[in-house]
């Protein structure tokens, strides 16, 4: 069970060039808007045709420009969950779900009833999509996709149109429904949180190119590249000068840093996540004297835009600190120093 693809497609001013090798389970494609992630997903489903390349799903070649193979979407057995769900507006819930069924006609009504139950849609059989809530619509779309027993399912930004509370509920629902699914899943998203939650393996896209593929945890811990670090949500970067095998000088912060990883010659930048920096009482190794430039109060955390007090022209850094309650203002308890734990200092290439 695996997906393999290597596709190219050219547009005006943009070219897509993606190589992917998915293993079993849940894979995520993370990228900014316009990075080509939806195009990649659509190519796998057969809705979009690449200019050249190859797509193999579970050993079956569904697209090969050289061998002139291009299976219709109908023949690929790929489920696709659209961002707006694309439910058929004039059909009832029941009829929508029946559209996805591919098996023997005599079992149709039994199967549909089965899936209506499985996705908690009882009582809504005769409703039109416009009469359903966002959560119900998503369940109909899932049921309609799953009743065809697809070998691979593709989720295209399934939560990006939703707001806070509903989003959390639907994410949990979706995780529950997908638990029993035996096939592979690929999810496209621009949200690092969704990627982290749903996918054990991640591929990062930037400007139509794949820059990094690997285990999700590993990628978040060690993104390797400046662009991938940005995609995973890191906000603090500085250009570096190598000082030793485990030591570097952060030029933008004017700060000497000891690192856990070895500093190799190709390292050009250093990054640290705002959540991992810790307050410290005294100056010392890997610590920076804090000067706050700006306070930003978030719902559950304070954010500080800080710079190095000891430096002449320091770049700014973000530091995030959990709130204890809503009365606390960000101006209270500002530490004098911040500590950069060596194990959290990320070494990055361009």
């Amino acid at each position: 069970m695996a997906i393999e693809l290597d596709i190219q497609k050219n547009f005006k001013g943009f070219s897509l060039n993606v190589k992917l090798k998915g293993q079993n389970g849940a894979m995520g494609i993370l990228g900014a808007s316009g990075s080509g992630k939806s195009m990649t997903l659509r190519s796998i489903a057969g809705i979009e045709t690449p200019d050249s390349g190859k797509i193999i799903i579970n050993g079956k070649t569904v697209f090969d420009s050289q061998a002139k193979i291009n299976l219709k979407p109908q023949e690929r057995r790929v489920g696709y969950l659209f961002q707006n769900y694309a439910l058929f507006p004039t059909m009832t819930v029941e009829k929508n779900i029946a559209c996805g069924y591919r098996g023997n006609k005599s079992e149709l009504s039994q199967k549909v009833a089965d899936y209506i139950k499985r996705y908690h849609l009882e009582g809504l059989e005769k409703h039109l999509p416009s009469q359903l809530s966002g959560g119900q619509q998503q369940r109909v779309a899932l049921a309609r996709m799953m009743i065809g027993e697809p070998e691979v399912i593709l989720l295209d930004e399934p939560f990006s149109a939703l707001d806070g509370y509903l989003k959390d509920i639907l994410q949990r629902d979706m995780q529950n429904f997908l638990k029993d699914y035996k096939g592979d899943m690929i999810m496209v998203t621009h949200s690092r949180d969704e990627a982290y939650k749903f996918c054990s393996q991640l591929t990062l896209l930037h400007n139509g190119k794949e820059i990094l593929t690997g285990e999700t945890r590993e990628i978040f811990g060690n993104p390797q590249y400046l662009e991938t670090a940005k995609l995973t949500g890191c906000k603090n970067f500085s250009a570096v000068q190598k000082m030793g095998s485990h030591e570097l000088y952060a030029l933008d912060w004017e700060l000497l840093l000891r690192t856990e990883q070895e500093v190799t010659e190709d390292i050009t930048h250093v990054g640290i996540r705002g959540h991992w920096m810790r307050p410290a009482d005294a100056a010392g190794e890997n610590t920076m004297e804090v000067q706050v430039e700006e306070y930003i109060e978030n719902t559950f955390e304070h954010q500080y835009l800080i710079c190095n007090k000891a430096a002449k022209e320091s770049g700014t850094l973000w530091w995030m600190c959990q709130k204890k309650n809503f009365q606390e203002t960000p101006q209270e308890n500002v530490p004098k120093y911040l500590y950069f734990p060596p194990e959290h200092v990320m070494l990055l290439k361009k």
Partner: protein, 231 residues
Amino acid sequence: MGEFLSEINWSPLWISLKTGVVATVIAFFLGVFCARKIMKLKPGARAVLDGILTMPLVLPPTVAGFCLLLLFSLKRPFGSFLLENFDIKVVQTWTGCVIAASVIAFPLMYRNARAAFEQVDVNLIYAGRTLGMSEGRIFWKVIMPAAGPGIASGTVLAFARAIGEYGATSMLAGNILGKTRTVSVAIASETAAGNFDMAGFWVVVIILISFLVVATINIVSGRGMQTRRWI
């Protein structure tokens, strides 16, 4: 009044309605077919073909009538071919009425269908494909219902245009009472003959039918969607 009504020859009304119905059926399938085909074309070819298909709407109907005469005249190749091989006569016959009305009504059907198709979320089509539905099933079960209001108003407009057609019909089919004289042709010839009562009567009939048609469109296209008011 009773005397006036009893003397009326109702055939123009029946001919108009019969022509309207048949022409609408033809325009419906042809219009929907062409709109579907054109949705699959690339922008350049689409613009050209769309221009050609819309011509009967913008040209004077007499120009359409003239072209149809050229095509179907028995003295010309295609017209004589039809007569010799299939025994079909178009000029000065009811068939001519239908063809003229169909040609004139076609662009209304086609343009409305196309506009309605363009409003349909293309993801619905893609969803149908990934679900394994055949293209035909997607078209008739998903796209046509989703485009329903637009298609319906196109059909009604085409019908209205077809029953009111005058220019092309009078040129191709002529003015034979009981055979090709439709209501609009009757109005023209009664007026020319100075029978203003009769012409006026047909005018009232046409106004009534037209109003019914417009009201029907409003009801049909208003159904299923929220009527927006500007307040």
